[in-house]
């Protein structure tokens, strides 16, 4: 009994008080800032080294939907044309906004990145229940989504929870590149959710196929049939990236 009390005291209060204002460690690779004027071109080709084809040159850009934030381009670029900041609010409600071009500041990006219809707040603002479906996810994204509900991030305090049955859900969160073998089950789960419903693509794999893009074992047709409401970049995205994106989307 005394040990239990001691343990509760040791545990203390773990929840992050302000999930909106919390900054991550400086080592975290978040929003990249591009300064093309520093690019001397040709010496080390960041485009070639990028494992997921996220970089385009002339003009230089990084597609956060493909980027796995490995930092190889930053390391390869000796002149500092691409630099990752620790800013974690990288999510967007529009796919094309994820393409970061030279000179785009984080502040500028953040202001425009997430936009939603005004009915969204009324429908989902007080309670949002989500069904997560892993379709070829490696368990990285799954663990970070699980972490959203743990004692540190405690997403439930905002009325946002993961539920077991799609019948209880207001939306679907997809992780993984959508393997052929999971494509039918993903469609079934989506169809089982009542309308109106949200679709959230979590992680580089679900947004673009990520490191698995080009695999013959994928079937990404599902994404042609539905409109994705929220894109959460990362490999895996940080729990704060997800929570902040959802909060902003439901205007909470």
């Amino acid at each position: 009994m005394l040990d239990l009390i001691k343990l509760r005291k040791q545990h203390g209060y773990q929840a992050i008080p302000d999930v909106r204002g919390t900054e991550l460690l400086s080592t975290h690779r978040g929003f990249p800032v591009i300064d093309e004027s520093k690019c001397e071109g040709g010496y080390v080709n960041c485009k070639d080294i990028c494992p997921t084809g996220a970089i385009e040159i002339n003009p230089l850009s990084v597609d956060l939907g493909r980027c796995i934030f490995c930092g190889e381009c930053e390391k390869a670029c000796t002149t500092g044309a691409i630099k990752f900041t620790s800013e974690h609010k990288t999510a967007s409600s529009k796919r094309q906004l994820l393409n970061i071009t030279s000179g785009k500041s984080f502040k500028e990006y953040e202001q425009a990145a997430i936009d939603s219809a005004k009915e969204i707040k009324k429908m989902f603002g007080h309670s949002l229940k989500l069904r997560q479906v892993s379709a070829g996810g490696c368990n990285g994204c799954e663990m970070e989504l699980g972490a959203c509900s743990n004692v540190n991030f405690d997403m439930g305090r905002f009325g946002i929870d993961f539920v077991a049955s799609p019948r209880h859900a207001d939306g679907i969160v997809i992780t993984g590149p959508i393997s052929k073998n999971m494509a039918p089950a993903l469609k079934d789960a989506y169809r089982s959710i009542g309308t109106p419903k949200l679709v959230i693509a979590f992680g580089a794999c679900s947004i673009s196929g990520g490191i698995f893009a080009g695999s013959l074992e994928l079937n990404r047709e599902f994404l042609d049939e539905v409109k994705v409401d929220l894109f959460i970049p990362g490999c895996p995205p940080h729990p704060l990236t997800f929570i902040n994106a959802v909060l902003k989307f439901i205007k909470k």
Partner: protein, 495 residues
């Protein structure tokens, strides 16, 4: 000689690997296993329409690996070894699925990663084992499960509440990883990132095993400092997952204190990994030739003090958890796997050690940082959920000690060397004790010095079957607890 004797991370010329007739080879495998060896790999490689079967056995006592091979030149079948060697059952099914080589007399020749309805009409349909009779019923779960986890299908045959038989059908996560390795074999950076994504909870384990194999193929010995950082990162990964599992096991028995406390401790550890390399799961840390991020003296000091604190905090939390009657009532004598069964089906990792089977690559086939500071194998005997939970606690303590040993005796030096061209027509084996157990990579290079075959084995490949056996005669409501006590990888199995 029918076997070539090598050590972990030793690469050999393909032409030095003995070629024997398949019936002789299977006979020798059976003999080897009878004399205490372990089946590590058994896979095919197709070149110019000829399929070659490669087999690796391990002698854990002498730290030796034995490699042999056999050609299927025109013949598309052979006599199955599974009736003699149970641990070969999935390997033979995989060989059949990937290359169409049929093991005649295999008692359970079903698809491994295919056979899912509606995907491909030419595929063989997966037939579940069925039971019939009064009060007998089936429960199907998945592929999508209740929680935020990966997909797989579980088919229970029950009599009332009691599980008679559980059949686990996987393959839903199949992403064609082995093929992606070979197709992109010119892109070194890509390959490393792909290895990181085989199983996202074993990033360091998989990328470390792959990088070590690449280094072996280019005769590169990475610096001692790089080895120490890799070892520390692998142990951080082990600590983080073990703590997460203790949290989840607590959740599954409704013990919320344990759920919260171990969950919070885990967060501290993955944030330590983030301080090291910018990612909570260690992505980006390992590269072929060394590592990408150094540990400064200040960070090393911080990690050591974190480890000291963690040791005290985990010990207190574990004492409370393992003295709670309501927890022990659920943990003890639930989901037992005996040592004999563990050996017979070739279990690995902490699950095997919890059943008394002393297998640990860190000690049996040491490489990297484990060469400087030997690891003592920890085992328990009861083989139940309690043992699989308790072994996680004592392994956390052990990992803390290993990390401190590495960082208190940190060697100065470079962290990365350049990787030269890989040797042509070579065969490299890399074993690594991930937190789930033995991760095994085999890399084969072609005439051009590029990878022509990559065979990956996640420890889950051995251990899923153990879960099936563990739940027999248990109540179906104990399944989630048993499942969590193994915490196996879907993506690592499905590839």
């Amino acid at each position: 000689m029918n076997w070539l004797e090598i050590k972990n991370l030793q690469s050999v010329s393909l032409k030095d690997i003995p070629r024997v007739h398949v019936d002789d080879l299977t006979g020798e495998i059976a003999g080897g296993l009878r004399s205490g060896k372990r089946l590590v790999q058994f896979f095919g490689n197709e070149e110019k329409d000829i399929v070659t079967l490669y087999v690796i056995l391990a002698d854990d006592n002498s730290s030796k690996l034995f490699v042999s091979s056999s050609n299927f030149d025109g013949n598309k079948s052979y006599r199955s070894i599974t009736p003699l060697v149970s641990s070969a059952h999935l390997f033979e099914r995989e060989l059949y699925e990937q290359f169409g080589i049929k093991p005649e007399g295999h008692p359970w020749l079903k698809p491994v990663r295919k056979g899912i309805p509606g995907i491909n009409s030419r595929e063989e349909k997966y037939e579940f084992f069925g039971m019939s009779g009064q009060d007998v019923h089936e429960v199907g779960v998945g592929p999508i499960h209740a929680g935020v986890i990966e997909p797989g299908h579980f088919r229970f045959s029950c009599h009332g509440e009691k599980i008679y038989q559980l059949e686990i059908k996987l393959g839903f996560q199949h992403r064609g990883i082995e093929e992606l390795f070979v197709r992109n074999n010119a892109r070194q950076t890509y390959l490393l990132k792909l290895a990181e994504s085989v199983a996202g909870d074993s990033v360091i384990g998989h990328s470390g095993a792959f990088a070590s194999a690449v280094e072996s193929l280019s005769n590169l010995d990475i610096t001692r400092r790089a080895k120490q950082i890799r070892t520390s990162a692998l142990e951080l990964e082990r600590i983080a997952v073990h703590l997460g599992d203790l949290s989840a096991l607590s959740t599954d028995v409704g013990y919320l204190t344990g759920s919260s406390v171990f969950g919070a401790l885990r967060t501290k550890i993955i944030n330590t990994t983030m301080a090291l390399c910018g990612n909570r799961f260690g992505r980006g840390l390992i590269t072929a030739g060394g590592i990408n991020f150094d540990i400064s003296t200040a960070l090393a000091g911080k990690i050591i003090s974190t480890m000291d604190r963690l040791n005290d905090e985990t010990t207190l939390a574990a004492e409370v958890l393992f003295s709670s009657a309501s927890v022990l009532e659920r943990f003890e004598k639930t989901g037992i796997v005996s040592k004999e069964t563990a050996r017979e089906i070739g279990m690995v990792g902490p699950a095997a050690r919890a059943s008394g089977l002393a297998v640990d690559v860190r000690s049996d086939h040491p490489s990297g940082g484990y060469e400087f500071f030997p690891v003592h194998k920890l085992t328990l005997n009861s083989g139940d959920v309690f043992a699989r939970a308790y072994i996680r606690f004592i392994e956390v303590q052990q990992s803390i000690k290993i990390i401190k040993e590495q960082l208190e005796n940190f060697t100065a030096g470079e962290i990365k060397k350049d990787v030269k061209q890989l040797d042509a027509e070579k065969f490299a084996v890399s074993l690594c004790e991930g937190w789930r157990g033995e991760i095994a990579y085999v890399l084969i290079t072609g005439k051009d010095g590029k990878l022509s075959r990559v065979k990956i084995k996640d420890p889950s490949f051995h251990n899923w079957f153990a879960l099936s056996l563990a739940v027999r005669n248990e109540g179906i409501s104990d399944f989630p607890l048993c499942n969590k006590s193994f915490n196996l990888s879907y993506s690592g199995f499905d590839l």
